[in-house]
């Protein structure tokens, strides 16, 4: 996995992508996500919302992961820290950390994972 910027990544075909969201000042329930053509639910075994998927698209195409954090009645210090990592053939890259703050204007960023090899 190669990070181009906070929201764009290049991944290898078959790479396992893991996204861990750690909420501060909000309950984990207000974090919601979607992947490509459908919903994606967090791993129930993880205390913090954790999403895992494999890069299965043809080379050149992109997986789209969109997340929304709703800071309902949350303190201004509330935030969710999104940590992204990839694993391909036993090699782990990341985690790349991206905070989503209540004071940000964007609470529903799209993360992109383009399959490049």
């Amino acid at each position: 996995m190669k990070q181009l910027d906070d929201f764009r990544y290049e991944v290898g075909k078959g790479e396992r992508i893991t996204i861990v969201c750690t909420p501060f000042g909000i309950p984990p329930e207000v974090i919601t996500a979607a992947l490509d053509d459908g919903p994606i639910d967090p791993n129930p075994a993880s205390p913090n919302p954790t999403y895992t998927f494999d890069a299965t698209l043809p080379v050149g195409q992109t997986h789209f992961f969109k997340i929304e954090c709703d800071f309902v009645n949350a303190p201004n210090t509330a935030q969710t820290v999104v940590e992204i990592s990839g694993e391909l053939n036993g090699n782990v890259t990341g985690p790349f950390s991206v905070p989503i703050l209540k004071t940000d204007n964007i609470h529903d960023p799209m993360f992109r994972f383009r399959v490049v090899s």
């Binding site: 910027d5 309950p27 207000v30 979607a34 919903p39 709703d70 009645n73 201004n76």
Partner: protein, 657 residues
């Protein structure tokens, strides 16, 4: 006819080119290198110029030529960006020669890009006699968005076509004013661009553009080709499920404190999580005569361990406890200087027995899971699904890959200026809107230069746009349900036990113990009841004092209604009013001259929001006596209350809209 064209194309173009390595079937254009693309473009241009080429072949060749140029532009822009990234990451480690080599490479690529842009308009001009729908196709998309500062007008227009617009850019594009781009864009686009621009300036980096580019690119394509453009343009942008009115937040000291306008205390005060850590571990509130500092043990733990779900789960119990201290306010300049033992009026500890109205509580979490989460997710799926469809269309993906780096480069240039944040934000918004209009909307709309695959268009019409609009409708219902949930939460009973340690200006110190209870009564009123007693720390028998100082009961009916003074429709603050009766038995006053043991108080109180975040509380109190003298009296209190959080939330909402 189609078969005939295909045969002509195979005979006239593909076969002659195959020996030259033009293996389009084996390698997609986006996978080709810059050198390969240049070679293909050269061959296609020679076919274009060849007078013997059949018109049908020319028409197809022109389409392919235009696509290759877009691809080449994208590759050049990517390479430039990659080299610049490399330069910024390892620059300090490079030798002078190595740095020069990179600069040269960037310079060559930029020259190629510039040359390409200059040839595009020529290509458009050359094809202007043709009836091909591809003519003029990539003029807009070849436009490089270069931030420019208009010194004459002073409006700092962010975007101007870098190519020579007087000679090359078609009139329709040349007339587009950068400060006035895409004025009829759907609200979905405008709001997202606005949010991204503000975050880019705040964080001083362009990555927030990446966070929203797939969304706004899809909205623009859909706006250009959708059969239901009208509905798309009518659709209001999504507002997050944000701050809602909180009515159980008592600002100020307890009812016994001097200067307080309250004759009754609300149990919601103990639910400190909602506000104790809002602005830090300790919260500060002041009125005209006193300063109140409040916190909770949970806030202290959260400050050290992070206010995560895990911490909350582990230390939930501490969230039931609230601590506050109230001080006489004598130094108005340095408010915190009043927080001394000498000026301490009271300190108190409260424990919530019943009712958790915070969004961390189990009731809210269960409600969110059952009623909101899936509806929020549906909108996300609508957008990621759309992004996938767009990504699966090679032509549209190519356009996106070309446009995004150009906009990003222009945005980075704006961020690098010394302009004030407001100007940077405006310039970035203009840059993005102009880029979207000129290089996306104008190109993919019917008659534009980029032909959207019919299957993609069909999906946009039948699935993507209806799905998106439907998801938005569901979210509106979800928002109403959420409001109803909070309204129902307010109806639930809440009970708090309170201990206060009071230090009156005159007289002995004493403590109070009491229970505070609140529940909904009849619409629109709710009932708040207090009961408690107080004890002297060191009773003075010469003053007829015993251990027990007094017992007191209070009953209050409170209501609220809309404020006619607020001009901002986003501000949902209400006028609150209450009628309160209070009875107190002061044991030491019994049988003492000019003293009354049974004290009755009636109070009318209201608080009027007069402008965003600011309200005026007022109370009028009638009493048959006070604790110190047997004399009927009427007392009026008023002040100003300012809620910075509300002002912040409102300002943000207004900006977003």
């Amino acid at each position: 006819m189609k078969t005939k064209l295909l045969v002509l194309f195979l005979v006239g173009v593909i076969l002659p080119l195959e020996p030259l390595g033009f293996a389009a079937s084996a390698q997609e254009p986006q996978d080709l290198s810059i050198a390969q693309l240049k070679e293909q473009i050269k061959k296609m241009e020679s076919i274009e110029k060849d007078p013997t080429t059949l018109p049908e072949v020319k028409s197809i060749n022109r389409d392919f030529l235009a696509k290759r140029r877009v691809q080449l532009q994208g590759q050049l822009a990517k390479s430039i960006e990659a080299l610049r990234n490399y330069q910024s990451k390892v620059g300090p480690s490079l030798t002078g020669d190595e740095k020069k080599a990179i600069e040269n490479s960037i310079g060559l690529l930029e020259q190629d890009l510039k040359d390409l842009e200059q040839t595009f308009p020529n290509a458009a001009q050359n094809s202007s006699d043709s009836e091909s729908p591809a003519e003029g196709a990539f003029v807009g998309s070849s436009t490089t968005f270069t931030p420019s500062r208009s010194s004459s007008s002073g409006n700092g227009l962010a975007v101007t076509p870098r190519s020579d617009s007087t000679s090359a850019t078609p009139a329709s594009l040349a007339l587009v004013q950068p400060s006035n781009c895409y004025t009829d864009a759907p609200d979905l686009i405008v709001t997202n661009v606005d949010r991204a621009a503000q975050d880019m300036v705040t964080k001083n980096k362009a990555s927030p553009l990446s966070a929203y580019f797939p969304d706004i690119f899809f909205y623009t394509v859909a706006d250009a080709v959708s059969a239901d453009q009208v509905s798309l343009r009518k659709q209001k942008a999504y507002q997050y499920m944000g701050e809602t009115a909180r009515t159980d937040k008592q600002i100020g000291a307890s009812a016994r404190t001097a200067g307080s306008t309250s004759a009754v205390e609300k149990p919601g005060f103990a639910n400190l999580l909602g506000f104790a850590i809002e602005n830090g571990v300790i919260q500060q509130q002041t009125n005209a005569t006193s300063l109140t500092l409040s916190t909770s043990p949970y806030a202290l733990v959260a400050a050290s361990q992070g206010d995560s779900a895990e911490t909350y789960e582990k230390y939930d119990f501490l969230n039931r406890i609230g601590v506050s201290a109230n001080f006489n306010l004598t130094n108005q300049t340095t408010v915190l200087a009043n927080a001394s033992r000498k000026q301490l009026n009271e300190w108190s500890v409260r424990f919530r027995v019943l009712g958790d109205r915070s969004t961390r509580g189990s009731d809210f979490r269960q409600f969110w899971r059952d009623n909101i989460s899936k509806r929020v997710q549906r909108r996300l799926v609508a957008i990621t699904h759309a992004a996938r469809v767009i990504d699966g269309d090679e032509t549209i993906r190519g356009l996106s890959d070309t446009v995004e780096p150009k906009i990003r480069t222009a945005v980075e240039a704006i961020l690098a200026t010394n302009d004030p944040p407001t100007k940077k934000t405006a310039d970035i918004k203009n840059t993005i809107m102009c880029g979207l209009q000129q290089s996306v909307f104008n190109q993919v709309r019917p008659g534009g230069s980029v032909t959207v695959n019919p299957s993609t268009k069909s999906l946009i019409d039948s699935d993507l746009v209806p799905g998106l609009l439907s998801a938005h409708r569901e979210l509106e219902q979800a928002r109403k349900d959420l409001d109803d949930f909070f309204a129902s939460q307010e109806k639930k009973p809440m009970m708090t036990l309170a201990y206060s340690n009071l230090h009156p200006l005159s007289g002995a110190n004493y403590s109070t113990l009491g229970a505070l209870y609140e529940r909904k009564s009849f619409e629109p009123m709710k009932l708040v009841a207090n009961a408690g007693f107080s004890l002297y720390h060191k009773p003075d028998s010469s003053l007829n004092q015993r251990n027990i100082r007094d017992v007191a009961f209070a009953l209050s009916f409170e209501g609220k209604t809309s404020s006619p003074f607020l001009t901002n429709e986003q501000d949902l603050s209400k006028i609150t009013f209450s009628f309160t009766g209070r009875y107190q038995r002061m044991f030491e006053n019994k049988n003492r001259p000019n003293m009354k043991a049974d004290i009755a108080v009636a109070q009318f109180k209201f608080e009027i929001p007069v402008m965003s975040g600011m309200s005026v509380p007022f109370s009028l109190t009638f009493a048959n006596a006070s604790e110190l003298i047997k004399e009927k009296h009427v007392r009026a209190n008023f002040g100003f209350s300012f809620d910075a959080d509300k002002v912040f939330a409102l300002a943000k909402l207004i900006r977003q809209q």
